[in-house]
Symmetry: C2
Subunit: 565 residues, 2 copies
């Protein structure tokens, strides 16, 4: 009897099920009912609920509530700072059984080989990692990346079973102004799934963006923005990353009536945050604590996500669907006691039994050696553009502040929290160095530097002292990239990220511990931001308003142009 017929036979009770979960209650995400009885599993599929079954193996889940495995609808695994294998080990035990990722961080460093690395890894994980195909590498033509991906390149990696469509189309000006390269990529996926990214787009511009066939979007930061996107047919992905925190603002629009059209995502979340707060489990808890009905919260976390991305084989605990199941203590607690992915129990043995894929993108940091004077900001005009940080957001304010040059250099001014920021090209292509001002770090001395610098992942440095900035940047070349804190001529903390300058070779626990040390080191510079390295990482992303900086200079995102000095 083949697997198809075995499913029918086991569902009907004509033969024992492979596995039964007994004693729990299934939380039904369609009607909100609690359903008693066994959950029968045949191979990788659920075959029966709400009835008694005999089975080869029985797991007692007495007192637990069974919900469908959570689906993270948009994230960059690279932002977890660990490899896909460690990401799997970090979040699958929390109930995340499907993650829809965009590998554009690594793709900006090494191109298609980065996408292929994630595709290969997806074949060995316990979670179902769906690898969307990166649409905007680089995100714009105002930055220098390590690789460029065009429509023809994307076509070469479309066939992999993990593919789920075109990843977040960040170049929204390119869409609405019909840039030829953007049109080519969109046409390649016409009728398929195209994920979006269009912060603050509205009115006819938003109509044009959606008319291009873009269906899902995660950049809404206010309820009004989310409502306009929903009303125009987009599925809105509520995001709660380590930096971008939109959950509280969007929570009021998530109701049982709207929840079929809303999903959850983390976008960028690091192991420290995951360890201290959680992942999608944290989002669910937080939503319910804010008053969201559990039906709406859990539906957004699985059923609606499956629908939004056309994953017809999951999203409910129901016959015929993938056995992706989370046994939790309570709907409010959302603490996973047992997780099944495609019928497999998630435990240390299952992680140990996974296949392996060797990391790629070693020795990727090819930056010039820099010196203190490289961080000067020359110019005669007093009026100076300053990036205004909004804590917990990746959008920034475009400030204009009077800063007088001294000896032809506009220097950092800790008294006004006006710090030097610099981006150094590190892909070995042109050695560009751009400098500017940022307000909001609270940094009073030393420097912090990073190769996690969206999306081109050049070197970003912020500091009060040029010598420490040079020290920190040069250290990154020595350790193949990562995070560095420098003070008074010393490196006082660092986290090497030798895989593309983005991911560690260590365990997520090690990375989490190193992040605690880094955070403390940053605080010793008087940094006031909760997540200084993550916040820094987004200051170089010129597809998020309003003012950013790349290796080519300060970018007015609203005008989509580099500001002339």
């Amino acid at each position: 009897m083949d697997q198809f017929e075995r499913r029918i036979a086991q569902a009907r009770g004509d033969m024992p099920a492979d596995l039964v979960l007994r004693g729990g209650q299934v939380f039904d995400l369609v009607t909100g009912a609690m359903i008693g009885g066994d959950v029968a599993i045949c191979g990788d599929r659920i075959v029966g609920i709400g009835a008694s079954y005999e089975a080869e193996r029985i797991i007692d889940v007495t007192g637990l509530t069974l919900v469908p495995g959570f689906i993270d609808t948009h994230l960059h695994v690279e932002s977890s700072l660990v490899t896909p294998f460690e990401f799997d080990r970090c979040v699958t035990p929390r109930g995340v059984t499907t993650a829809i990722c965009d590998p554009h961080e690594i793709a900006n460093v090494i191109g298609l080989d980065g996408i292929r690395y994630f595709q290969a890894a997806s074949e060995h994980l316990l979670m179902d990692l769906r690898v969307q195909l990166s649409s905007c590498v680089p995100s714009t033509d105002m930055e220098t990346s390590g690789a460029e991906i065009l429509a023809d390149d994307i076509a070469r990696v479309m066939g992999h079973p993990s593919a789920i469509g075109l990843a977040e189309f960040m170049n929204y000006p390119g869409v609405i102004h019909r840039d030829p390269a953007a049109m080519d990529k969109l046409r390649l996926f016409e009728g398929g799934h195209i994920d979006g990214h269009c912060p603050q787009l509205s009115g006819r511009d938003l109509n044009a963006y959606i008319a291009a066939g873009i269906r899902t979007e995660h950049e809404a930061t206010t309820a009004d923005e989310a409502l306009e996107k929903l009303r125009k047919g987009m599925r809105v992905l509520i995001r709660e990353g380590s930096v971008s925190k939109d959950l509280d603002a969007l929570q009021p629009i998530l109701t049982p009536a709207t929840s079929a059209y809303l999903c959850l995502c983390t976008d960028d979340r690091n192991p420290l945050d995951i360890g201290e707060h959680g992942h999608l489990d944290y989002m669910i808890r937080r939503l319910i604590s804010l008053g969201t009905e559990p039906l709406a919260a859990y539906r957004a976390a699985s059923l609606s996500a499956a629908e939004a991305f056309g994953l017809k084989d999951r999203g409910l605990i129901a016959p015929g669907l993938r056995a992706d199941i989370v046994a939790i203590d309570s709907l409010e607690g959302c603490n996973a006691q047992l997780v099944l992915t495609a019928g497999r129990v998630v435990d240390d043995a299952a992680f140990a039994a996974r296949g392996h894929v060797a990391p790629v993108a070693r020795q990727s940091v090819k930056a010039p050696q820099v010196a203190a004077q490289d961080f000067r900001y020359t110019g005669n005009r007093t009026e100076t553009p300053v990036i205004g940080i909004l804590e917990g957001k990746i959008i920034t304010e475009h400030l204009t502040i009077d800063i007088d040059p001294q000896d032809g250099d506009k220097r950092p001014d800790p008294a006004r929290d006006l710090m030097r920021i610099a981006v150094i090209e590190r892909h070995g292509r042109n050695g560009n160095i751009a400098t500017g001002f940022v307000k909001g770090f609270g940094i009073a001395r030393g420097a912090i530097a990073s190769t996690v610098c969206h999306d081109h992942h050049n070197i970003a440095v912020v500091g009060a002292d040029y010598a420490d900035m040079a020290l920190a940047a040069n250290r990154l070349s020595e350790i193949e990239g990562g995070f560095v804190v420098a003070l008074n001529g010393q490196i006082i903390a660092e986290l090497p990220l030798p895989v593309a300058g983005l991911m560690s070779l260590e365990s997520f626990e090690d990375v989490r511990d190193r992040l605690v040390v880094l955070r403390d080191a940053a605080r010793s510079l008087d940094v006031t931001l909760e997540e200084p390295f993550l916040q820094l990482a987004f200051l170089a992303l010129p597809v998020i308003p309003a003012l950013k900086i790349t290796d080519r200079g300060m970018v007015d995102v609203t005008k989509f142009e580099i500001i002339a000095r």
Copy 2:
């Protein structure tokens, strides 16, 4: 500029839209909001809402509410008694812009050529007729049909653009008992869409049916039955046909919270009913009058239907989607004042401009000549199985009534409303004649006969007088099938249906008028049923419980076997 770029340009207002609807309000089915502003259309797509647009053509819809075109999720066009072209002309002006049909009526008469006829017709209609591929022709092996369709046959018609999956899998015993021919058909559509039909199936049997990959179902007649199906992951299609009327029973489960998982369908609805009450527009009116929130009713009528069947290009009035739009007087009234399908205004000129496909399946009635004595029901046992009609339902009661034979024949007994029913094979294959008893017509004299006799479409006759029954049956051979009423040796009314014995060559208005005459003629026989011909048509369908009759005899549907005489 190609059409893809024109859409983006028109959406943004960079060039005038092809068409604008001005002055109305869009009812948003995601949030329930009313959205003012123009609706801009480029070719067959909506490109903009909620903004002002210039346009080549403007239609004033002041005072009207705009809703997405309705989607009938399951119906048999043949049950409208007219060709697909007349069906289009009959229901599209009521706002039905997509209909998902199963051509299994004509397929039971002439096989694949019947499916191909509908596929060809779909290329010329104003509505988008989606032709599912008939899974159960014949519905069981307890009947004689004109053709048989196996998995290999289905594979030959899968490539047509109208195809949307496998049509209602009525042979539910074949699924759960793993009949090899059923397994072959299901495997052919594994991972795709398979529509269901499993009246009163429950518990582990229902689990097994759903575990086979069946996703949608329209046979729930009670709220409890619908809730079990919903909780097990099926999308439930609420049906209101001319005979099967489930709307009132299922209305309470349709709420804003559940509406994303519920759809509407008519299954079988004739032009008289459509003329007197309406089609999906009637269902929407009725739901709202019963207290359903308009958001839930309209969502089920379009957005949820599009989702359930994977029609990602429709279901909302939103940029990028098909311009299938209904302008109605009010949400409660649901009277279509203007209908657009794929951007075309539905009017007489548009109907006249359609292409044409010649009808098929002429001269399909090849029944033996019958005589009065052929309708005798012999037997010695007094206990007699009697089909108990439930008005407005296609399920029947399995009654057992004492009937004494007279001269070796159990004769009709008008005093107890016990009437003769007979089914005569008419495909020229074996000339079978089966007789039995039915209770519930109220017929006191004469006979009615029909070639619309699900799904094998043999001749069904009900009467109090054997001679009139023979007269009526023989008349059907002369007129190539249809409906006939005979009384006292005369044909007193008839409707020829020469296309497969199922569809008229006349307009829907003519058919509607003839049905009024037929209904009056039936009443002159004291028939008490509102729809005697439709009710008769389902008495021969052995996949609907509990007692039915085919050309091979009375069928105990619960046991799935022919009753021995």
